[in-house]
Subunit: 196 residues, 2 copies
Amino acid sequence: MPKIVDHQKQREKIAAAAWEVIRTKGMEQASIRNIAKQSGFSVGSIRHYFPSQASLLTFAMNLVSERVNERIHSMSFEGEPFKVMKEFLLQFLPTTKEKEVEMEVWMAFIIKSLSDDSLKEASDEVYKGIKFGAASVIDALKKLKLLKDHLDEEYEVERLFALLDGLALHAVLQKTEFSTEKLERIIEQHLKSLCK
Amino acid sequence: MPKIVDHQKQREKIAAAAWEVIRTKGMEQASIRNIAKQSGFSVGSIRHYFPSQASLLTFAMNLVSERVNERIHSMSFEGEPFKVMKEFLLQFLPTTKEKEVEMEVWMAFIIKSLSDDSLKEASDEVYKGIKFGAASVIDALKKLKLLKDHLDEEYEVERLFALLDGLALHAVLQKTEFSTEKLERIIEQHLKSLCK
């Protein structure tokens, strides 16, 4: 039987190596050569999967959002609504080592997207995705009649979205200051401040 | 009369060129050679002021916080307290082209500091500076007896700080979405939510 190669898996392995280089050495070190060294793939094999560095980086960036989406889709959304909202919002914060890695890489990508148009589209997609997540929470609280009356919903979406990304940034920058418990507490307190 | 060279000014000119390279081409292009090209200084002159790329980048990073500090020190802090707080908090947001440039560069630096220990100290200093700014506002609101009773002040500092950095990040990423008026409105609404 011929050896079956799962090409998507191979691409993901290469992208994971790119993440590791970006996270430990910085975006400026994310050359095909360094990613080859990190992954154990040859430069030639990497070029087979990714004809350019830009295509590799775009794939590696999209993989971050896929991982976040997978986690959200695996949530049951069952139980007490307030707890479900909290759990949902915590998906966007580095409460585990795995998420911490994703968010460090993610931050490096969005900053690179400011000077690299090839990443702008993927960056905008995730921006919209997280904003949609924040909007979904405000909307759900309203439908469940938990949201305080007369709140400016558009503003509350922007505020929740900024709070999430600001916290993610701070937690990545100051790991020892931001325990999982602290992040949970801040999200819980903010959600409570929106509810009747 | 011998020509008097203001060395600090020369260093600032080189740092400004480094900002421009970082902002338009990305941190990975911020080599001494590219900064020389951008600044009009020779590689040799740059090496005279900055013996290493790390010392240049640290200086350029510190210059961002100096600029923010200068703006804050030039504020009169006179007038209606609520307005003064709002004006103070807006110093940390990209409401002008000048601040937009600073914040883009700033974000690039803090991400680089995750994988580059030589920038960690300068990055931590600004982190503490902005957090101190947020804490000063909560503290002032309390002393002025404007702050709502029974607020968890430690939490409010973290929330305000995260809101500021999250908004700065979003405004830099989505320039057309975040007008100065929108940023002012969000800060005003958040401040109002903290006040009696």
